[in-house]
Symmetry: C2
Subunit: 345 residues, 2 copies
């Protein structure tokens, strides 16, 4: 059996020297290396940006969607949309575990798992596309995939429906990082706090900041704010446009009586909200950017431009225990679980 690199570089066909994600083409033969896991795939959960593009290209025709998907995997050895560059995640059952992983992994053959690394780097073979569920970006297939040694995953728990688990796992990094960063007594602002990742962050923030802390939910629409209020996720609620930095600063100033936030968590899905996040935060405070619409230069130059000495963190999608922490929220909070079931599952 061949020995593999933990990052899967042994599967890169071209260009050499890159990692599987930026690679143009990777090897998707399903004979495993000594440190790989073979997965019998059940469902692909295509990244929303990618699936929207594929649906458009296919004019909504299901057979054409299937053709495009088969073609992507044939060309690249993985389901990485050539237009958007993005992937998605998958659910499947562990079929084989490389001998080099013995004692290193707690997985066993037969476990149902969700991969938490992107499909854009996952070796995949599709034998047949069984069903395309167009409005929730999910595709059932017959096929196999490989998980690298460094690849992260979550075992799907028995007590949480698969679809609910999937949607929570999609944003698992955000609440887990919140849990790590927030300290008792902190004032925390979550911008985009009534969205999918935002509500999980509010919940964790409130738990960690405790009775001496203050948690503030900032959202765009009255409607989403009402939802967050129903679940009693924050001490204060602000309706504001996060692209208007001055408006956000004034409103945060008001509810914090001039103190501003120790930690601001940005969970929006629109660009140009860096400055609002910076101005909502006190000197020596911290901004955690989870939003993928964040611009590195706007954040770096923005903070300098107003002379703010704050720590700005790039939202790593992974942190230890992120799946466990996010799924646990669905067990702890009945109201939140109902909201997520209605909205996302």
């Amino acid at each position: 059996m061949k020995k593999g690199c933990s990052y899967g570089t042994h599967r890169v066909i071209e260009p050499k020297g890159t990692l599987p994600q930026p690679a143009q083409k990777i090897d998707n033969t399903m004979e495993i290396y000594d440190n790989e896991i073979l997965i019998d795939v059940q469902t692909l959960n295509i990244d929303s940006a990618s699936f929207t593009q594929i649906k458009e290209q296919a004019n909504g025709d299901v057979e054409k969607i299937k053709d495009i998907m088969m073609d992507i995997v044939k060309t690249r050895g993985k389901h990485q949309n050539p237009v958007t560059g993005s992937g998605g995640m998958l659910i499947g059952t562990v079929e084989k575990i490389g001998p080099a992983l013995e004692g290193k992994t707690d997985l066993k053959v037969g476990d149902k798992i969700a991969t938490l690394v992107s499909l854009s780097l996952t070796p995949l073979r599709i034998d047949e596309i069984l069903e395309v569920r167009k409005n929730i970006d999910q595709v059932d297939i017959k096929g196999k995939a490989i998980l690298f040694e460094s690849g992260i995953y979550a075992v799907i728990p028995d007590d949480i429906p698969e679809n609910l688990a999937l949607s929570v796992l999609d944003v698992a990094g955000a609440p887990a990082q919140t849990a790590k960063l927030v300290k008792p007594g902190d004032t925390v602002v979550v911008i985009g706090g009534a969205g999918k990742s935002g509500m999980l962050c509010l919940y964790e923030a409130k738990k960690r900041a405790g009775v001496t802390g203050t948690v503030i939910c900032l959202g765009h629409s009255e409607k989403s704010i009402e939802r967050a209020k129903k679940a009693d996720l924050a001490d204060h609620y602000i309706v504001a446009d996060a692209t208007n930095a001055v408006e956000v600063m004034e409103k945060v100033k008001e509810v914090t009586e001039g103190d501003m936030a120790d930690i601001t968590i940005n969970c929006v899905n629109v660009p140009n909200t860096e400055m609002a996040s910076i101005l909502a935060t006190k000197d020596d405070g911290m901004v955690y950017f989870f939003s993928m619409a964040t611009s590195f230069t706007k954040a770096a130059l923005g903070a300098e431009g107003v002379g703010k000495d704050i720590n700005m963190i790039i939202g790593n999608g992974y942190t230890k225990g992120h799946a466990k922490i996010s799924l646990q929220i669905m067990r702890e909070n009945e109201t939140l679980r109902k909201i997520y079931e209605e909205l996302y599952a």
Copy 2:
């Protein structure tokens, strides 16, 4: 006298609700608000990307360069290049200090200062352009500028030549952040370590990591590495291409005997080096991205893709004491000072 906002929003003409930097047009009348500082400007140091664009547009003609610059300031009230969006910095003499700043600032009328906030947000009036020094991006003018209450600056010291001070202050955030982040015993890798910001970071890293720490300089050309060696800035030197993540990982693994870096500092000026920075770093370690060529999404998805639980920081150009820390290096290290005088002053 009118009362101003500390971020200068009172000067924004359009669009309303934005800050002076993203604004299209700001008010550059030179009557100060109560919390502003009036500067008699001597030299503009135009951002290198901006000045390159202006020179091209003018076909290198000095009179045309002057016209373009006058036009920018007339249209926007600030020297923000409409193509690149960037500004630069300026040197001048404090002429007036708003009464609301009394007791708050240590500046006095007559001080020679460099502004450390971008020209892209600084109200500026140019009366006359005296001299254009095309090859070092500097332009002497007769004119005035406004520093906002939140605006950062440095008093030019007597013992360091103006040009040397300017080039060190340009990258002051990097060594100052290094000084804050590196702890005794740390293993530190500086990628792009033989460049302008890189060498200052190496110097601070060595000072803070101390005798129990290890400092590693990674550069691209033998020539620049020789320069860093001459100044004895690191314990190990690596020649590698930072866009090749696997090469960088292997070489860092070798010199650290498999341990990898506690802190990786990215000071390169080319794109696609996020993955090398991530793989050079140990789990629970930290990457500090100073390079403006950093992509937020490449960093966020890259770390997730290899399951690395690391803290990734956006290089804020400002941190308290950054000017003092960086200028002090020029006093402490004779060899480094000579190198900077030859290269940049």
